[in-house]
Amino acid sequence: MQTAIVKPEPVELSRPQRSRLGAVGRLAGAIVHDPKAMIGVVLLAVFTFVAIFAPLIAPYDPAAQQFLPMASPSSQNLLGTTNTGQDIFSQLIWGTRQSLLIGVIAGLAATVISMLVGVSAAYIGGTTDLALSLFTDVFLVLPQLPLMIIIARYAGQGSFWVIIAVIVITGWAYGARQLRSQALSLRHREFLEAARIRGERTSRIIVFELLPTMTSLIVANFLGAALYAVLSAAGLQFIGLGNINEMSWGTMLYWAENNEAMMSGAPLWIVAPGLCIALLGAAFALINYGFDEIGNPALRATRRRHGRRGNHS
């Protein structure tokens, strides 16, 4: 039988490990070259760092009411103090944890659900698709904010997990629709048929054959969901539906608003957490934009189409 190797073959022999690293390396390279993505990554990295090392960075215990209330920013209290004498800066640092965690966890959960529902609907088709799409549509048309408020109310004192649950319940449907659309366009790829022919289970085909080719959209979905989560959590906490005794940017806003921080000379109490929320959200959004521009070349093969088909029966 003929061998089919042509020398010199410019392609290096690649072990799977190296290729994957190579792909990550190329992705990193692509990010570095794209200013939007770069800024987003840096912001996110900063927030993550702060969240992890909060105890080391925050100068004081955020709940300790040890200072002069409503003080202006000083060298002692970089952002001033609250109406009960707590250091705003320390609260901001500690609050990063909750806000970031909610964003990431809720974003992840919503993405996973939208993935499973959307892609399964598209791949399985038929009545399953009809049922899942109907299910998705119901959640899509529910008005999010009122629903969030009602659920948070009835769940009692909104804890960390309740907030996450509320966000996920109201947020997964949009992504599911998007992923379903993309999966619909991909389901006729022949390698999926090939997987069926060699005997793979449908569930395995969806998870291991189809989803890996959709990673860029899934990541984009996650980033969008995380953004939505950060903003929604802040919103819920701001109107008092979160646990007002926990430390987060949203609850800071709640207390600040309730004590009319703007009016009574401590504007930073509102501005600081608000700015952080905006920046974290922007970080996710920027990375998302950057991803769109990078597209898939770092990770995917280019597909050469020869258009040489005799017929299509």
């Binding site: 039988m1 003929q2 061998t3 089919a4 190797i5 392609v11 022999l13 690649s14 072990r15 799977p16 290729s19 790829r189 022949e190 390698f191 048929e193 090939a194 997987a195 069926r196 022919i197 060699r198 005997g199 793979e200 289970r201 054959e209 890996p212 080719t213 990770l299 995917r300 093969a301 280019t302 597909r303 050469r304 189409r305 020869h306 040489r308 088909r309 005799g310 017929n311 299509h312 029966s313």
Partner: protein, 378 residues
């Protein structure tokens, strides 16, 4: 050469209709696309059967029905005597897939780009031979790669699809199908999307697999010349029907159905001397929706008679093991080919010098030079 024992796969009355059309007026009949109608087919061990046709002929649908990707509207398929419809458990289905595999047409979309190209081969082994150790599996994968000519296998095992050419990818497709140890491989236009000079290599591979590994093939193609090159028997399909079938050389030398003759007259051959006659408007293959009775080729057929519009012709044995579904051919008996289209060749198709009836013996006819070079005997 053909092992006339039990067929691996046998189809009777195989039919597949697809509903088409959008909004339907109430009380109007469902519009059905007749992709395949009443097809009988049998594939025996150690042979290559070609199914030749153009678009809309139903040939790819037949392959997909046999691969259990579609469920037939009517008719039955038996694998070694067992009805496919009776395979319900996952185990039974998996066992079937072990024995009957498939190679797809497009090398650029039939391999998942995310994984190394050998991923499919490994998965096939994990599904069909799960008891093997990782080392044994790797050895089997390497062996499959070697059989299809991707050597040294150790180099190819880790390559990603984008590092491979079209021909190499298609070989991976064959290796994946082979890894299961099948008796039959359904090859759906495996070379149509490859460059011409690469096709021969893969066709030789198929013939070699038949001869050395004893694997049978159902070779779906629109290229009748390549069908002649590798196949032992041939089916010609048009508009969902089988219009002619028989041993390859016989069908070529004594084509009975006007459509087969049309196909033969259109085969491009760079070496043959040809005169360009006046252009004949030969029309195009139909999209068969809610058809009436009658031959589906009648509108394009220069020999069509009244009966052709009223009665659907059935396959009749016109020569030894050579069947055709044509009223005119049946009526004219064995007086050579129907000669529907002027021979655009000097010299005849196939090997017989004239179109005369041979007699009920060797269907290959006298004077067929069958190079045994790549057919290592039975």
């Amino acid at each position: 050469m053909i092992d006339r024992t039990e067929p691996i796969l046998e189809a009777k009355g195989l039919t597949k209709h697809f509903p088409v059309g959008g909004l339907r007026m109430p009380f109007s009949p469902q519009r059905l696309l007749h992709a395949v109608d009443e097809v009988d087919l049998a594939i025996f061990p150690r042979e290559i059967v070609a199914v030749v046709g153009e678009s809309g002929s139903g040939k790819s649908t037949v392959a997909r029905l046999l691969a259990m990707l579609y469920r037939p509207t009517r008719g039955e398929i038996r694998y070694r005597g067992r009805l496919l419809g009776s395979l319900r458990t996952r185990r039974a289905l998996l066992a079937y897939r072990r024995h009957v595999q498939m190679v797809l047409q497009d090398p650029y979309s039939s391999i998942n780009p995310v994984y190394p190209a050998s991923h499919g081969i490994f998965r096939a082994l994990q599904l069909h031979a799960p008891h093997r150790s990782a080392r044994e599996q790797r050895a089997t994968v390497e062996r499959s790669l070697e059989i299809v000519g991707l050597t040294p296998a150790a180099e190819f095992i880790d390559k990603y699809p984008y590092e491979l050419s079209g021909g190499q990818r298609q070989r991976i497709g064959f290796a994946t199908a082979l890894a299961c140890g099948p008796e039959l491989i359904l090859a759906d236009e495996p070379v149509s999307m490859l460059d011409v000079s690469i096709r021969i290599g893969l066709l030789n591979l198929m013939a070699g697999l038949r001869d050395e590994q004893g694997v049978s093939f159902l070779y779906i193609t629109h290229d009748i010349a390549s069908a002649r090159y590798v196949a032992d028997r041939m089916f010609v399909m048009y508009g969902g029907h089988v219009v002619e079938r028989g041993p390859v050389e016989d069908v070529l030398a004594h084509a009975k159905h006007p459509y087969t003759q049309l196909l033969l007259s259109a085969v491009p051959d760079p070496r043959a001397e040809v005169t360009v006659g006046p252009s004949s408007e030969t029309g195009e293959p139909p999209r068969v929706v809610n058809p009436r009775e009658g031959c589906r080729f009648r509108e394009r057929c220069p020999l069509a008679i009244d009966e052709c519009s009223r009665v659907t012709p059935r396959l009749r044995e016109l020569r030894y093991q050579h069947f055709a579904a044509c009223h005119v051919a049946t009526r004219d008996g064995d007086a050579g080919s129907t000669g529907a289209w002027p021979a655009t060749r000097t010299g005849d198709v196939g090997m017989s010098a004239n179109g005369q009836h041979e007699g009920a013996h060797d269907a290959r006819g006298p004077g067929v030079v069958y190079e045994g070079v790549w057919s290592q005997g039975r």
